[in-house]
Symmetry: D2
Subunit: 427 residues, 4 copies
Amino acid sequence: MIPIQKITVIGGGSTYTPEFVDGFIQRREQLSVGEIALYDINAERLELVGGLVRRMAAHAGLETTVATYTNRPAAIEGADFIISQIRVGGVDARIRDEKIPLKYNVIGQETTGPGGFMKAMRTIPATLDIARDVERYAPNAWYLNFTNPSGIITEALLTHTPLKVVGLCNNPINAIMAIAEYAGVPDEEVFLDWVGLNHLAWIRRAWVKGRALEIEELVQLASQHGHFPFEPDLIRLLGMLPIGYLAYYYYHDEAVREAQRAGKTRGEVVKEVEGELLKMYADPNLVVKPPELMKRGGAYYSEMAVRLITSLLTDRRDVQIVITRNNGCILDLPASASIEVPCVVGAHGVSPLHVGHLPEIIRPLVQTVKAYEQYAVEAGVSGSRETALKALFTHPLVPSYSVAKAMLTELLEANKEYLPQFFGKKS
Amino acid sequence: MIPIQKITVIGGGSTYTPEFVDGFIQRREQLSVGEIALYDINAERLELVGGLVRRMAAHAGLETTVATYTNRPAAIEGADFIISQIRVGGVDARIRDEKIPLKYNVIGQETTGPGGFMKAMRTIPATLDIARDVERYAPNAWYLNFTNPSGIITEALLTHTPLKVVGLCNNPINAIMAIAEYAGVPDEEVFLDWVGLNHLAWIRRAWVKGRALEIEELVQLASQHGHFPFEPDLIRLLGMLPIGYLAYYYYHDEAVREAQRAGKTRGEVVKEVEGELLKMYADPNLVVKPPELMKRGGAYYSEMAVRLITSLLTDRRDVQIVITRNNGCILDLPASASIEVPCVVGAHGVSPLHVGHLPEIIRPLVQTVKAYEQYAVEAGVSGSRETALKALFTHPLVPSYSVAKAMLTELLEANKEYLPQFFGKKS
Amino acid sequence: MIPIQKITVIGGGSTYTPEFVDGFIQRREQLSVGEIALYDINAERLELVGGLVRRMAAHAGLETTVATYTNRPAAIEGADFIISQIRVGGVDARIRDEKIPLKYNVIGQETTGPGGFMKAMRTIPATLDIARDVERYAPNAWYLNFTNPSGIITEALLTHTPLKVVGLCNNPINAIMAIAEYAGVPDEEVFLDWVGLNHLAWIRRAWVKGRALEIEELVQLASQHGHFPFEPDLIRLLGMLPIGYLAYYYYHDEAVREAQRAGKTRGEVVKEVEGELLKMYADPNLVVKPPELMKRGGAYYSEMAVRLITSLLTDRRDVQIVITRNNGCILDLPASASIEVPCVVGAHGVSPLHVGHLPEIIRPLVQTVKAYEQYAVEAGVSGSRETALKALFTHPLVPSYSVAKAMLTELLEANKEYLPQFFGKKS
Amino acid sequence: MIPIQKITVIGGGSTYTPEFVDGFIQRREQLSVGEIALYDINAERLELVGGLVRRMAAHAGLETTVATYTNRPAAIEGADFIISQIRVGGVDARIRDEKIPLKYNVIGQETTGPGGFMKAMRTIPATLDIARDVERYAPNAWYLNFTNPSGIITEALLTHTPLKVVGLCNNPINAIMAIAEYAGVPDEEVFLDWVGLNHLAWIRRAWVKGRALEIEELVQLASQHGHFPFEPDLIRLLGMLPIGYLAYYYYHDEAVREAQRAGKTRGEVVKEVEGELLKMYADPNLVVKPPELMKRGGAYYSEMAVRLITSLLTDRRDVQIVITRNNGCILDLPASASIEVPCVVGAHGVSPLHVGHLPEIIRPLVQTVKAYEQYAVEAGVSGSRETALKALFTHPLVPSYSVAKAMLTELLEANKEYLPQFFGKKS
């Protein structure tokens, strides 16, 4: 039985929160958590979600205290783990991120392209603000970032705070689960040579029960799973399996046209789902995670959090695919870059397995997106319009300087109230 | 008086040839050339151009022998310098290079993008064939490549032959001349910190009479010269001056639309100009380079050739901007890459001034175009359709995998007769 | 129960062999080995050792076949694992390696310095010969190299064969065991940040039950264990713990004087021990590994072999410290260098944890010794005296060019009969 | 006629100063210097030397003002060039630097080994103090460092000041002159591929009138010139020509024994020479540089200074071998390292020709000495005894940790009065 004193969830009013807590309920034989601290700026929603979570814990017979806080220092103080899952500007800002780029024939998306850029601009100041509190009130805590765009936010934290930070995303675990299902084995028997950045990654090779899959098996797998919507010939050309987000790059024209034709954006769908979820959460008879939560996305988030926390605490030294600092692990990227690669996780921390050079067929795309990300981190911290323009101008999906300039102006204006670094502090 | 035994011009039937020879006429006080050997596969045109050149030499009182050859070994044997300026498929192939990509909303251009790619595919086998003769008949000769796309062709030569190769392009000298004119000084008083690849270069800093120009002077210069068609704000954002070819990247949409609207391609214009020039050349009374040759483009080509040859022969050790092997000079590119940078030229050869890291705002574009170029060299040598597809797929102006695939099929088919490496030897 | 068809021990007549086999006896619940094939060029000794091993297996109730071979292809054919533990020239050559350098005031040692160099020169041709048989008769086998100098021999194999090679040395496991004993915990609870080359490594940090040891704890540990004979101040200056072999570098003068004063070399002691062991082995009543084998050294060799084999076969993906190819893992060393670092071992193979830059205080020593090792590999393969001289001249313990030259001549002459690459094939 | 307003010589009381001034006298047709400002802390000696220099200028009909200063800000204010040639502790300190290491069987030398280390420790604080004045009173001046150990002092300046710094040493020009003499050509016709650090350099290749010398010509050259005291076989092994200082590394034992046997150190000789020179300088009838100054060493110092100044001022863009910041020019060394390589010198500054990887046979020695130098810079600035110990411990000529420790204690104690950073400010 591994004891954890306190876990703090920043953005605890999220509809995801019951998913997290369910993870600890599933592992109650293994992990004994003293307190789950939920912090949010939206007190009403926090109480609503907190209420459900408390009922879930009680129903499961957990001895964990579930506390809600709107005072951030109090929420953070003494925590062993900080879990960040915030959404600055809420789902309405996301919908704008999705719609504005489409006007310029550029994909609008929560994490990829100009949409992800704007989310980063809104999120970085808020995140660094939280980090300052963690430095003061829980300096030895592990800071687990789930907030998107996770690669950029994690890099901002790694570069601008001294905290112990790990970035997380459910893409790797989803891929492992999909391959395990495809091969009919438990997920422990799948091992992936995963390489790239968050939301810009490839499976160079997959092993199932110690056997490396042939490229044709990857092609077949891709044809069966929604995560991998690529033509067989493209997979063969690459010699590896791209994750689904790569479709925004490899089939950009098609993706833009499809999004322009679509009735609702993903954000609009999520908004409806969340409305329904919150109604359910309000029901005092609900004492378990509702199955409708699956529609929200974010599969296996709690699984990942629990696995990471367990390995850090128990010195398991198993391999997990997370977001960490490059330091030369991928020789073609700057030392300061955040990367997403297999890492050994133990009490000593998170050690990436060495990668070396990227395959040439993906190298320039990764270098370009990383250059964009590094400008984005810098712009998000400094509020420099020039640096922000450099970020969009560098992004491979932005077709020209003219488009970068026009789109930036519109995006900044639309997000004005969430961009203290660009427009001065909100009163 | 510096003696040169023999200079061989491959593609000697080009309408440029009188320009070259004129360069030696201008320097007759300094350089004494034994033989100018003109080689071409088109005997008729060779005699036409050769006739003019002979009359020019006689008229100028040059003691140089002007000889024409359709036997390549004989043309090459004993040469001190090989000058290559070939055009496989002639101007008609160029016109196809310009038109096909436009159908896919991608720029069609002699050297940039898919057009330049096809020119490389046609040119690499022919060039390496010539190089084999040089290895055998003039292994110690300097091989000066003027053939476009000069960066790719030079890299093919540097990678696949043991010859002493230098690549040349008139972009740098044109920029120097433009700045000298702007500043009202002789070109010797201009010094440029030029960095990048052939046709993908930037002037990081320009000195005039030892004084570094301010960015606003570069902005003003750009507004006065056709070579630099960029908005002031873009130049300020970059903090340096891009060469004209960068407009295809920075304003791709606009460039495509303009080309689609234009009546004639540049190739079509050149075809007419060349027809007129050849008529003039046939006139037995013409004994000097006709002024109409200026319309052909290629300003200062002979000037560059003569300067390079002079420095190599006389150990001048002055700085010239040429195309050479990277070897780590630009830290962000592979050792084998051809780069275009200032070099010291002397009897020992061509030594690039160290560059270090590229400015971040241009780094990913240069890395991406170089990755494309390296695939292009590989495809041009091997004739692998897979590698050719990787080249186009990697090119930053090709918007998607689907476009790359469709365009490649059409381009290869249209160039079939010039692509022995892809389609087997012509009978 | 993990089935292994066949394990082949090259140098099976070694007195170590019972130690290896004992490892499999200890794990008989876990590993089921079809055949242990012992190969040696010394048939008499092979039978003597093979006899004991057969009795051990029978006594333990193992169902494994123990077979002896003097036909190498037959020994290798069908093996899953090749274990190499050869000693070309036997212990007499070792004694010469120890004595000759001392005449030049340079340490004489089995693996470090000119002694190790000569062992490499004798061993490389024999090893590559074996490797050719493995390529032919068991191309998919894992080749586990125990033969010293293990870093150099492993690099020769990694560079000159396509085989799947891992190098092993008991230094890391000895350190782990020593720290476990010091801390009073099982060895699984020790985790080391180990970095360097084989026999030139440092413990940057040690964790015990997930807690990092303070530098003063490392000082105290060093004072209690023979493996770490360093002054407290030196350990503090380094900020890490050097392995024992570093004493030859950090206290070279003292080491030479001590060796010059000593009555017997380690080789001479080993020779006596081996004589006694072989007498014991001949006793038909001996059915277990005799305790006197401990005197021979090589503690935990079988433990390491069994652990590595188990992880490779069962896809355990645990961390083991072995010798593998650098590929940029240590940014300050060539890609082709063999390095000794923590690796994840699974069915996919051996993946080093990324290291990055070496600490500055050890970097030049590691770079220098690696440069020596790379010359040694090249000389061992080519038999070039010039390259051999470069190796010794580069070695940090060889004080001058003059000493390098004189010592090389004497060493080569003394080892003439084992150096076909330098002196031509033995008849 | 190139006008220079003011040149300031720091350490103007040096016996070298007339040599410098003579350089400007020789070029009076070309350079017109307004003021030569001589600064020294030793007022008496300054007037003595200043007197001679004034007489020299008057005798030569120079219109230059020669002014002497003991007020450093006044001396520096408005200077275009600062020339630093200081000797903290004077020649007596040098003699100690030469003698103390020999007790430990390590070479004692002005710039190489522990002697050079101590000179650096004394010189760095004084140099950075001067640099602070230059930052304030002549921030755009070029700072030319002649002070030894010039590589370390130049690196300290490049790392710890924002000034425009170039390091100079007469080794390269001496080699050029020696080769020119050997080949019977003017020095302009010699071109060297020189690579390494200051006082740790090699001539990879030498061209004479555009022809590369064969290795046997380098062997012959070495046998005729005192600068190159190496066995033919060593030169052939290296495949290049080491400069004389390399003998301290390649023949360390012999160098130590010779120095131990020698009656007087070089410092003791210099002390006598300087005494005689100062007596001559005092003679009011002396109006030219006395020929005895040659004995002092430092041939061509003024030649180098004048060449460098001329190229910087007139934008000559010729190649000169000077000490500058690495920035990746030599791929095997840190970006911050000072290196000694051929550079293009013009109004834009000093641009090194790209080197790439060092030849393997010299690489580890250069890496080790540079690591030592970087510790030396750090220790010289910080006064950390730990860092100073790391410097000596890293030096390839210091045989062991024990020797490093003992020698450091003695050296620091002996230099106490000149080491404010280690012992606190002098009152």
